[in-house]
Symmetry: C2
DNA sequence: AAGATATATCGACTTTTCCCGATATCCCCA
DNA sequence: TGGGGATATCGGGAAAAGTCGATATATCTT
């Protein structure tokens, strides 16, 4: 994945919002209690909050994952997404000294 | 200028290259000697190196400037562009802690 | 004042992105 | 083992971005 694709993934208001929501899953996704948050938040919760269709949100999450910005875990019928913090640190360093 | 527009400005291989070239103007634009580099590099030099048309490069530089990533100075018939390093530091911080 | 040069803007066309509905796939459970 | 729920993928129409050639604007020179 090259830098252009990372920046493209970040070039969308909804995708930026999703990343931001995933910083505080407990606050932003109160409905998801039983499953805990260690694996992340499932697609349906994110979709509901984003107010876009399921297919759009699924595609957005795939885009973020291809860029390396989130990681996913499948548990039963659910896919949980969470931030990949290492990627943000690496990107921050790139912006600071390699662009 | 919001974050989305900054990331959009960075979502293009040529624009990333231009930003990178402007980190070392002396090395990357050896033809531009007489004018010095304190004000930056003029559009024509950047265009020649990018290998795209004048209108495209001019538009790219305008995009980078709207995003705050470069600054321009008009001197006679030339417009000199240089990096706005403060913007990169600010963006690095945003990526590290605000996205 | 006129021509030359540098840059910006405009109009058009192509490619990409956005976002949807429909459908397929995967997994659970009665 | 079949129905239902969660997610992924596909196909498409609308909007935006990429890129060009042509033209406009600004400035320098003579």
């Amino acid at each position: 994945m090259d830098q252009v694709d990372i920046f493209k993934a970040l070039s969308n208001k909804t995708r930026l919002q999703i990343l931001n929501w995933l910083k505080q899953p407990q606050e932003n996704f109160p409905e998801q209690v039983e499953a805990g948050f260690s694996e992340g938040v499932c697609v349906g919760q994110i979709q509901k909050k984003a107010g876009l269709t399921q297919s759009t949100v699924s595609e957005y999450l795939a885009t973020l994952q291809r860029a390396g910005l989130v990681k996913s875990t499948r548990v039963g019928q659910w896919t949980y997404y969470k931030r990949n913090e290492e990627a943000f640190e690496a990107l921050s360093d790139i912006v600071k000294s390699n662009i």
